[in-house]
Symmetry: C2
Subunit: 207 residues, 2 copies
């Protein structure tokens, strides 16, 4: 069982939060609009609580359930309140036409967040390749990237508690490639396979 | 049934060629070393033939089964011999440490090949996300990208003839993202899931 704080009270916090509560995790919600945090905590049930925006999160794992443009500024704003935390960035920095990324550099939102995260914090990328609809109804594979081995074990356990399969793609610099896989997922959705009914995953082929 | 020419007589030509013959396609092999082309054609059976390096391929679909550095120079060398052909680039331009690409620009081998391909040729990216071992023993999904709708239908039919599922990720500029998915696949292989026993694919989740 993990203790999780969501920074953000939108649809992704609701969807992952629902699975987190069902998986026996302790859940806290933080939002700029405290009433939205309270509404979501109430909707989630399972003893979900709220915390004050900018305060030290109760959770060992902090999920920034924000639009991509909000992630780095929010990590900066929280500052030392995130010291020692595992921070999971789930965002997709798509460009305006959803066929590329907002940045072309060899970086990612997660890597940029790591640059400004406080001491002892460990940033991960995860969940960004999965449409929310799929996360609600299915059991998609969850690709993740991050550096710290101990934190990796915690992230693995958390994803498993959601009833999902964690797939470690490597160190945090692989976040860059996960964001690119997000673009590929949208490309697939626009070319015949549909939207909200599939996810990229791994299929195994044994001899 | 499609008519396929492989430019290159290495392992990938052998593996895809084996499936192509089994699927009832007409197969031609071209290699700089004519004896290698002949050896592979003989090994494939099914009436596989050889063609002279640089001549007009017999196949409507030409697969450049070459290392990434060879693809663009070979398309340039063939020149007008490839006029009107569907050219499938299957390469992965990995960097020396296999954790990134040899180029950092927003391009791909397939897009670079398209820039110099002759009139009427249509370049596709496909197969690059699949380890050869998996292609030998399993039925992985085949992501592909390309622009021309009529050529897309031909590529789709060819992939289906191999007993594999084609997944259209969009226009040729998505080749860029498929090469990045190749990096992700290697990242997965290096972090616990193994090598030669999995492939990225799509899982569907219906209501």
């Amino acid at each position: 069982m993990s203790s999780i704080t969501f920074i953000g009270a939108g649809n992704m916090a609701r969807t992952i939060g629902t699975r987190a509560v069902a998986g026996g995790n302790t859940v806290e919600i933080m939002a700029r609009d405290q009433s939205k945090a309270e509404d979501l905590a109430k909707a989630l049930g399972g003893g979900a609580t709220t915390g004050e925006w900018g305060a030290v999160p109760a959770g060992d794992i902090v999920i920034t359930a924000l639009l991509h443009a909000g992630v780095v500024p929010t990590v900066a704003e929280y500052g030392d309140a995130l010291a020692g935390k595992i921070i999971i960035d789930i965002s997709n920095p798509f460009n305006a036409t959803f066929d590329g990324l907002a940045h072309s550099e060899e970086t990612s939102i997660a890597q940029e967040a790591a640059k400004i995260a406080p001491a002892g914090a460990s940033v991960f990328k995860a969940f960004n390749t999965i449409f929310r609809d799929v996360l609600e109804k299915g059991r998609p594979d969850v690709f993740f990237a991050g550096d710290d081995p101990q934190a990796k074990a915690a992230v693995t356990a958390f994803i498993e508690s959601l009833g999902l399969r964690p797939l470690d793609v490597g160190g945090l610099k692989m976040a860059h490639w996960l964001e690119r896989a997000g673009v590929l997922t949208v490309g697939l959705a626009g070319n015949g396979i549909g939207h909200g009914n599939f996810a990229m995953g791994v299929k195994e082929f044994t001899d």
